[in-house]
């Protein structure tokens, strides 16, 4: 029985209940608005699972087939919903299996809280069964982490964990809780965290900087905007659109920023970076003012920094002070949340059109269309291309699907050709490049947006890294649509071997199993397509299905993704073939 009593803290009196640390964890999650978590049980976290059993009407736990799957599912959930994803694991191998997901969430700024069980306090440091120093291991890949050894720390630490995960530049937090602390009873009460004294997630917008940025933008003759995920995380989509339209600025995106602006917006000039569009890459080195919004000048975006936009004045809007001047020296840096910064900027912006400058983009798009895009999305050769599959998904979904892609050629093709008409729609592992991300992330994405169509686009390599998560799709009847673009190769590595290693195809040929039979083994409706004539109708059938659906598309084995900026080259040296 829970006994309610009053606890005095300073002048305030709080209602407390006497409960175990494990039960307190559940109450904290509920207080933070969590109703869905992913995880995998084991010895050191069993008291928490015992409480989950009692609270299953309020808090759904999804048993992934591997702890890595739990992290990617939590990430997918967070990325579509904007909420904090939660993953739970036991100590030792359970905890170490979270590391890839933590690193992925850290580099892609995804809000996530991972809770791990730990051996009892008296066994810490003794090499006990399933003991591992997960706080030490996860330090470089978490925004914050902490080890709880007393039950009474739980409410404050979990409140802090959620606050840190979601505020400022979001990121993953790990809280490691010893098993004895889970059993220990204490007087529980919960207060949400409203601040941490050493942490300032809300930098004040500097009006002088905003005005300086506006002056540069207003005087620009050839401005270019490059926006990233910061726009989505800061919920600044409307402000971005207003800025673009008012100032008439061609706008390009990073792969994590893509869905912040509708694909068919006339000022959307496509993707920057290694496999981005021709015009924005080349014109990065011709613009006079480059306005970066919520992006971090990743090397896959900039190519060789010594020849990146050297002619341009650079304006950088970002919430993270450590990103300013990290890779690219800026002329004006505005620190702050993208929404507040752009709102402050808009009144200073003069209306403009930059028509001649747009024409340059359009002409270069035409060059890319003729040499690359048309062959990708409307091929005439016999074998299917990855691009035409994406194009059929666009048509069948009317650009409204959430696209979850894995890592490799199919990812670049998906990001290049998928069309979006709403935000939070492109879920992919951008910074870390984690193969195996898509299948579990798609599960999380679907659960985070049940009213939306979620299509996972995965290569035959990455699919087999987390294929066991089909078990979750089967058990919970998660109606995700899975497309494996099968070229029987690790395509991107093969492409590099072809271009830069004289076609020495070391370990990139895959002898694959019968993927359709595997899906059937999980009782998931499945089909294989290798003929163009069947593609459109099968994708329509897949999207019309109310149930999970697996589609394997056999595509050309040795296609390459172009355009391409070879590693170490300048953005303006982007190759069309």
């Amino acid at each position: 029985m829970e006994t309610v009593k009053e606890k005095k803290t300073g002048s305030k009196t709080k209602k407390t209940i006497k409960i175990s640390g494990a039960e307190a964890i559940i109450h904290c999650l509920l207080a933070e608005g969590v109703d869905l978590i992913y995880g995998y049980p084991g010895g050191a976290i069993m008291p928490v699972y015992d409480e989950l059993y009692k609270f299953q009407d309020k808090l759904t736990h999804i048993l992934t087939r591997h702890e890595q799957g739990a992290t990617h599912a939590a990430q997918g959930y967070a990325r579509v919903s904007g909420k904090v994803g939660v993953a739970l694991a036991t100590s030792g191998p359970g905890a170490t299996n979270l590391v890839t997901g933590l690193a992925d969430a850290q580099i892609d700024s995804t809000p996530m809280v991972c809770i791990t069980g730990q051996v009892p306090r008296h066994l810490l440091g003794t090499d006990a069964f399933q003991e591992t120093d997960i706080v030490g291991i996860s330090t470089p890949v978490t925004k914050w982490n902490y080890q709880v050894t007393r039950a009474e720390e739980i409410p404050e630490i979990l409140a802090k964990a959620f606050y840190i995960a979601r505020s400022g530049r979001p990121g993953p937090v790990l809280v490691d809780i010893t098993k004895d602390a889970q059993f220990q009873e204490f007087d529980f009460s919960y207060e949400a965290c409203v601040g941490v004294r050493s942490y300032n997630p809300f930098p004040k917008i500097d009006t002088a900087k905003v005005e300086a940025a506006a002056a540069l933008i207003n005087s620009a003759k050839k401005p270019l905007i490059v926006f990233g995920q910061g726009v989505i995380l800061g919920e600044a989509e409307a402000q971005l659109k207003a800025l673009i339209e008012k100032a008439g600025i061609p706008s390009a995106w990073t792969i994590l920023g893509v869905a912040a602006l509708n694909s068919d917006h006339p000022l959307n000039v496509g993707m920057v970076g290694m496999h981005g569009n021709y015009a924005p890459n080349v014109l990065t080195n011709e613009c006079d003012v480059l306005i970066a919004i919520g992006m971090r000048f990743d090397d896959r975006v900039t190519g060789n920094l010594d020849s990146y936009a050297k002619q341009a004045k650079i304006i950088h809007f970002d919430i993270d002070p450590a990103e300013i001047n990290k890779n690219v020296q800026t002329d004006v840096a505005v620190l702050g949340n993208a929404k507040d910064s752009l709102e402050a900027l808009l009144p200073f912006i003069k209306e403009n059109e930059h028509k001649a400058w747009h024409t340059v983009f359009k002409e270069m798009y035409q060059v890319e269309f003729d040499t690359v895009i048309e062959k990708d999305i409307r091929p005439t050769k016999e074998r299917l291309t990855m691009g035409e599959v994406i194009e059929q998904v666009n048509l069948a979904s009317k650009n409204s699907a959430v696209i979850v892609s894995d890592v490799g050629q199919h990812q670049m093709i998906a990001c290049r050709y998928a069309k979006f008409n709403q935000t939070k729609s492109n879920i992919t592992s951008g910074g870390l490049g984690t193969m195996g991300f898509a299948l579990p992330a798609a599960i999380g994405a679907k659960m985070g947006a049940m009213d939306r169509e979620v299509v996972a686009i995965i290569g035959d390599g990455g699919y087999q890294m987390t294929i066991q998560e089909l078990g979750v799709i089967f058990q919970h009847k998660v109606p995700v649509k899975i497309i494996v673009l099968n070229n029987d190769h690790l395509g991107m590595v093969r492409q590099w071997q072809e271009l830069f290693f004289e076609k020495r195809y070391a370990s990139t040929v895959m002898v694959n199993p019968d993927f359709v039979k595997i899906a059937e083994g999980y009782h998931i409706k499945s089909k294989r397509v290798s003929e163009r004539s069947e593609l459109k109708s099968t994708i329509e059938e897949m999207l019309a299905s109310k149930e999970p659906y697996f589609l394997e598309v056999k595509v050309e084995q040795e296609d390459n993704v172009f355009p391409m900026i070879p590693s170490g080259a300048s953005v303006s040296d982007v190759r069309l073939k």
Binding site: V135, G136, T139, P140, K143, W144, N145, Y146, Q147, I164, G195, V196, R197, S198, Y199, N200, F202, K204, D320, P321, A322, I324, N325, K326
Partner: protein, 175 residues
């Protein structure tokens, strides 16, 4: 860009694991920490890390940003040697006989403004605070006589400029 000596001061909460988090930032960039000292600071309950590195100014700027980004770090600064007053401290353990038998030892102690910390039957201990070169000089002078043990602390430093940590903490709390 040319490598230089930089002293980084980090004001932080005093929490388990923070040292690991901060040293990881250097590890990630393959930079060696040349000296490290952790102590209390002028503000109650706030710790101060003093870290010496040899790197480029661009990197030290980036590193300071990445240190400051850590949740429990309040503020980090980097300084050139000209911006700070700094010292290290060293202890020398020497055989007792030498103190009495070798006149020169007494001169070395005087000349270097060194102090005798303790004298035991078998050994005595000298301390010396100062710049690295001064400690090195004393080490060189004593070496021919035999040093039983030697240890030198990390650099400690105070800046010539104001640090404003208290007002920063107040600002954070009012945000």
């Amino acid at each position: 860009m040319k490598n230089n000596w930089y002293t980084i001061s980090v004001y932080s909460e005093n929490n388990v694991g923070l040292l690991n988090r901060i040293s990881g930032i250097f590890l990630k960039r393959h930079i060696n920490i040349e000296a490290l000292n952790v102590s209390k600071s002028e503000i109650n309950s706030v710790s101060k890390f003093t870290i010496v590195v040899h790197t480029t100014e661009q990197w030290v700027i980036n590193i300071v940003g990445q240190i400051e980004k850590q949740i429990e770090v309040i503020k980090a600064f980097y300084h050139n040697d000209d911006d700070i007053i700094y010292q290290e401290s060293a202890l020398f353990k020497i055989k007792s006989d030498l103190l009495f038998d070798e006149r020169e030892i007494q001169n070395i102690i005087k000349e270097n403004n060194s102090q005798i910390v303790t004298v035991a039957r078998d050994f005595f201990v000298l301390s010396k605070s100062g710049k690295r070169e001064e400690i090195n000089k004393m080490h060189e002078q004593l070496e021919p006589y035999g040093i039983m043990q030697f240890v030198r602390s990390g650099r400690i430093a105070v800046s010539k400029a104001e640090m404003r940590i208290s007002s920063l903490l107040e600002e954070f709390q009012h945000n």
